[in-house]
């Protein structure tokens, strides 16, 4: 075989083979771990947040190639965003930044969105006073 054929496009394969931001953050301000009931994959995203801005992000994933690539891409995309901006993050961003995913793998990008939002929720739980204003409706209101 002279050519290499791949199951996913070259961007997805690159993020799977050379994942960005893989690992944990020791002094993370927010950690989210979520599982996909559909397939059993598990994704964990850790965030470092300073002055309402995501300074750093890391992921760990138990899942297929596209789940690993989705979490790698999601962490790349959200670095530098404010918490408020990150709250409206959508899996569609991951899908388009990856240049598309097979239809059966779209749920992997949803898992990345959920892991990120779980990490943001965790951050808000830990820092309730910093975030009284803008909150997306699907999140649990904090106790004041």
């Amino acid at each position: 075989m002279s050519d290499t054929y791949t199951l996913y496009n070259s961007t997805v394969m690159d993020h799977f083979m050379n994942p960005r931001n893989m690992g944990d953050l020791k002094d993370a301000d927010g950690i989210g771990e979520v599982g996909a009931a559909a397939c059993g994959d598990i994704m964990k995203i850790s965030l470092k947040i300073k002055d309402g801005k995501i300074e750093d992000a890391r992921f760990k994933t138990f899942g297929c190639g596209s789940a690993i690539a989705s979490s790698s891409m999601a962490t790349e995309l959200i670095k530098g965003r404010t918490v408020e901006e990150a709250m409206s993050f959508s899996n569609q961003e991951v899908v388009s930044a990856l240049g598309g995913l097979p239809p059966v793998k779209i749920h992997c990008s949803v898992l990345a969105e959920e892991a990120l939002k779980a990490a943001l929720e965790d951050y808000q739980k830990k820092h309730p006073l910093l975030h009284t204003a803008s909150r997306t409706p699907q999140l649990q209101p904090m106790a004041v």
Binding site: D24, G35, A37, C39, K60, T61, G63, C64
Partner: protein, 421 residues
């Protein structure tokens, strides 16, 4: 890069001499065997030879018991539906093992929608169906028993001869799906009490596009594909002549070389499993240990704390072709029904990899696979939150429990808010 093909259960390359034997039937000897002139008659003779080559492979009583179809799936569909419909006046009940190939299970499900009923025979933790359970499942209305020979997924060899005895005693047709074993296990349909058997030569170095249904004359069968009167009126459609010719030769060679092929793959199977077991912690072999209960070509593994598709992709990027029964690999997002049937923990089913050996694999290749696979597992465990949480004592291993932490499944259910199926 090195290329190691370890997916012989999916298919095998066509032997050069088989390819050469097929070649004239595309161009010069192009006749339709149904034609009554020289072109047709010549091809008809060649097909008769292939029929006898296949009959010899399984020791069929008569060459007329060999029906050519388009592949393993069609052979199975014809066997299951053809026997069920032919015996509809006698009964409507089918006994089937729960680890049959989807070709069998889906055919049976189709029949269930059309008034037939089924009893699924359970398997033990290594995937073996107890013949006593087959006997117990038989009712007055049973018109067909379906139990495969070797499992396509975990390589378990079923007790065909014993089930054959029960079927003969009860006078019920016994269909054996041998697609995953023909050419790799000796088959004698007469002494094993088999009435119908499916196989395809592309699993033993013959071409794709042809399958064989053996059916002895005592088993009534109606055609399910209608048209011309090829194959004694039981399978309409012009024969795939080159594939039949090539398949016949592949069967003849498989018959001759079977002892060598079995001995070679059994040696590699042992070497591969021993090597993996020694270098990778928390790895499990699904199905029976290598030996008389397992086909010599198959290893079905679960590597804990990581998922199967990632392993498959990294193997592929290292030139190693393998398969997986993980939910991430299936289009339905479900783990292999065989792994579910043996009661394998969902987390282990997620980490599933299937390696199937062939006659051309070498010891050197096996050693390369062991070395590469160890690195692949290490890389993926480094990325897995489960491995990390296991090391921290938050979750426990299923393969070798430490007694610390909760089970992976409990953990997965907690983080997903729902148990994985």
């Amino acid at each position: 890069m090195r290329h190691v093909f370890l997916d012989h259960q999916s298919t095998t390359p066509v032997l050069p001499e088989v390819f050469e034997a097929m070649r004239p039937y595309f161009t010069e000897v192009f006749g339709n065997p149904s034609s009554l002139h020289q072109h047709g008659l010549r091809v008809r003779d060649a097909i008769a030879k292939a029929r006898s080559q296949f009959a010899t492979l399984i020791n069929a009583e008569s060459v007329d018991d060999i029906l050519f179809v388009s592949g393993g799936t069609e052979a199975v569909n014809l066997a299951v539906k053809g026997v069920a419909y032919a015996n509809q006046r006698k009964g409507n009940h089918i006994v089937v093992s729960e680890t049959e190939h989807p070709a069998v299970l889906s055919s049976v499900e189709f029949l269930e929608k059309h008034g037939f009923t089924t009893s699924k025979v359970k398997v033990n933790p290594v995937g073996w169906s107890d013949p006593a359970d087959v006997r117990a499942a038989i009712t007055e209305k049973t018109t067909l028993i379906c139990v495969h020979y070797a499992n396509h997924d975990i390589g378990t060899i079923q007790s065909i001869q014993e089930i054959g005895k029960i079927a003969t005693e009860k006078g019920i047709p016994f269909f054996v799906d041998a697609v995953a074993s023909a050419g790799w296990l000796p088959i004698d349909v007469q002494t094993m009490g088999i009435s119908l058997l499916s196989l395809t030569p592309h699993r033993f170095y013959g071409p794709k596009g042809v399958g064989v249904l053996y059916r002895n004359r005592r088993a009534r069968l109606v055609g399910v594909q209608h048209g011309g009167v090829q194959e004694g009126g039981r399978r309409a459609g012009t024969e795939n002549v080159p594939a039949i010719i090539g398949g016949g030769l592949a069967a003849e060679i498989a018959m001759r070389e079977m002892p060598t092929r079995i001995a070679h793959t059994a040696m590699l199977q042992k070497r591969l499993w021993e090597g993996l077991k020694k270098t990778i912690p928390y790895i499990k072999l699904n199905g029976p240990e290598p030996g008389p209960q397992r086909i010599s070509t198959n290893l079905n593994l679960s590597t804990e704390f990581i998922e199967g598709e990632g392993q498959l992709l990294l193997c592929d990027m290292n030139g190693i072709a393998v398969a997986s029964g993980s939910s991430c690999v299936s289009k339905s997002l479900k783990i292999s029904h065989v792994l579910a049937a043996i009661g394998l923990d969902h987390a282990l089913a997620q980490g599933n990899i299937i390696m199937t050996l062939g006659k051309d694999n070498t010891e050197e290749e096996v050693d390369y696979v062991v070395e590469s696979f160890q690195k692949i597992v290490q890389k993926l465990r480094g990325m897995s939150p489960m491995w990390d949480e296991f090391e921290k004592g938050i979750i426990d291993s299923v393969i070798k429990p430490t007694g610390r932490g909760k089970s992976f499944s409990e953990h997965a259910a907690a983080v997903s808010g729902k148990a994985a199926h």
